[in-house]
Symmetry: none
């Protein structure tokens, strides 16, 4: 149950909607879209199954609402950084950082809400919410590259690469998380640096460093 401190009567419509969204986010993260049933969602709520349909027309609709919410949330995070005249390098750093913070947050939330039994190694990162976020980044990168980039570089490929790196590297990073908050912050920073450096300098940089 997401919350039981208030009776259902007291709660505003918005609060119920939020409770359902929270539950859905959790369950989708655990089970994926297809495997999740509407019952799974409302079971994590103190609402009744029919109530779900007062807020969302269908399972698909809540999924998209979730994607939009996450994208918006992430977008807000992203927008805290200067967008005008930002260099690609800076944008990259900010975007990676924002993304890694975002998934760490999500991960913590799932851990917090999930029944302790759940194996979190299975938290999904290919959810639609993530896809929505990536579309946003994709647009951003392409915009920045268009203004700054060398004409040679294939911006679609580069964007795809950045997203691929973020996605896969992010998953590995999550497996390393401990309960230590400082440690987690350091992990995010380190992942951000790794990803940014990889894109900017490749690993030759690292090799060279060693060899000199």
């Amino acid at each position: 149950m997401i919350s039981k401190t208030q009776s259902k009567r007291e709660r505003s419509k918005a609060a119920n909607r939020e409770a359902i969204l929270d539950a859905a986010r959790l369950v989708f993260a655990e089970l994926g879209y297809e495997t999740t049933t509407v019952r799974d969602i409302i079971r994590r709520t103190d609402l009744a199954s029919g109530t779900f349909y007062n807020y969302f027309k269908s399972k698909e609709e809540i999924f998209e609402a979730l994607a939009e919410t996450s994208a918006a949330e992430f977008g807000r995070l992203l927008r805290t950084l200067p967008r005008e005249n930002i260099s690609f390098e800076d944008y990259l750093k900010c975007a990676f950082s924002a993304y890694f913070h975002f998934i760490v947050e999500r991960h913590a939330e799932v851990l917090r809400l999930a029944a302790p039994k759940i194996h979190i190694s299975d938290v999904r990162s290919d959810t639609p919410e993530m896809n929505a976020i990536f579309q946003e980044i994709r647009k951003d990168i392409e915009t920045i590259l268009a203004s700054e980039g060398s004409p040679d570089i294939d911006t679609a490929y580069l964007t795809a690469s950045a997203i691929g790196i973020a996605r896969e590297l992010g998953d590995v990073m999550l497996t390393r998380i401990s309960n230590d908050q400082d440690q987690t912050e350091k992990l995010v920073e380190q992942a951000t640096d790794f990803a940014t450096n990889l894109i900017l300098c490749g690993i030759r940089h690292a090799f060279d460093e060693i060899r000199t």
Copy 2:
């Protein structure tokens, strides 16, 4: 329907098994594992529903058969290149090339088998077959990096990045495919170079090149 020139009785067991596998490969690529039903699969053959179970014990089993087949196929492709004392750079090039060739092949096959109506933009790359392949690469890269790599570099992150790049960049590449065979070969080569260079030198290389 895969074929109707022979009666189902004439066809060898192997041929029917292959027909089911083909249909399954196609449908899984279109719909993903959960969404695909066994009925979807056999509907694409001229066999009856019960016949499916003469060949595979369950939906899960055919899925794994598919994953193994693909992994084996890809593995063979990968093994054509020298494995002993190969440099990381060379391995990377070969592996990317093998992967991109592989997905181009798969893509062509899906296009060939799919009823024309299907929107191929939705061909999925997160199928289990792909995951099997990526596990294989992951192991390879880690092995090579262990022997050659600088002690500084985080091999798990690097491997994840390489896989992320391959996956996302590969998807973009597929959208650019035309019917021209030569063009396709060039696409693969170009994607391979892009990915390899990105990992080795990053994009600074490209920027620098321009600025000098």
Copy 3:
């Protein structure tokens, strides 16, 4: 259909559960466990197939619910008679009487519920509900014989015999039932006497009686 005067929504959960149980009792009696399908059961109610699973997890579960219900019902009947210090003869009389009353009741119920088309000669007496009842009797008889019986007598054989007599003789008795309520009561009494006397005195008694 069990009842159509009320809408299914008006009916209490308990009423619907009872309707399903009634239907199941009927169908199991007609067809036996294996042959009966869940569809057979709900087809005899005015409910939809999915509704079955709101009340019972599986075909097996409803079967066991039925067995328990019947055993409990019969147990209650049996417990109306004095259990302490009862002689074997008295126990036998009571138990036979209770059993015959029970199956007459069941039989009437099946006749009442069954669509008229059904051949009741096929009402089954080897249902699991009956087995549950027989286990109960078996235990009782063995307890009583243990305290009272001659050390010579094989209590397991005797118990088995009593149960065999009840079962087969009961089936024959059912074929003789008419609509006359008094007649039925007399039938039960007569069967009870027959069974009890057979076990106590055998038929020699009867033969002797005649010959003198």
Copy 4:
């Protein structure tokens, strides 16, 4: 496999038919009619599934063939005893003895053929073959009673009782069987005496014996 010493070509039609019947007898005894599949039967044979239908039109037909065979076999056993002018007492003894011998035989056969893993406590005694046998006995008893019996006695009830005793007592007897052949013979004799005495004298006889 029932037999593999001969090729299927060499074997006569009759031999194949017999092999299928043997397998069926075994499997029906283990699983009951509904639960048994035709595949279960032919799997115990070295024949192919289609071959089944060269010998029997359906699962039902083989079941009935089995019932007839058993009934005939048992009938032969029963007919070895004098039928004319036999007393009820003698008939009873012979019939019980024949029945108990018959089920001991069946039981041994199932044990012999069954994979050793099987829990024989579950060998079914309510098979149709048994029912066929009981019909035969029923007729016999009624005939004899009609000529000899006291007009008072309810022959249908008495017959039913005898059958019930045979059936249930027989089941208990089977649970006591060991590998010792002499022991088994004694068991049969003892069961026969118990059943016969019960019907003739009841248990009072036993009690009295003790008390004097």
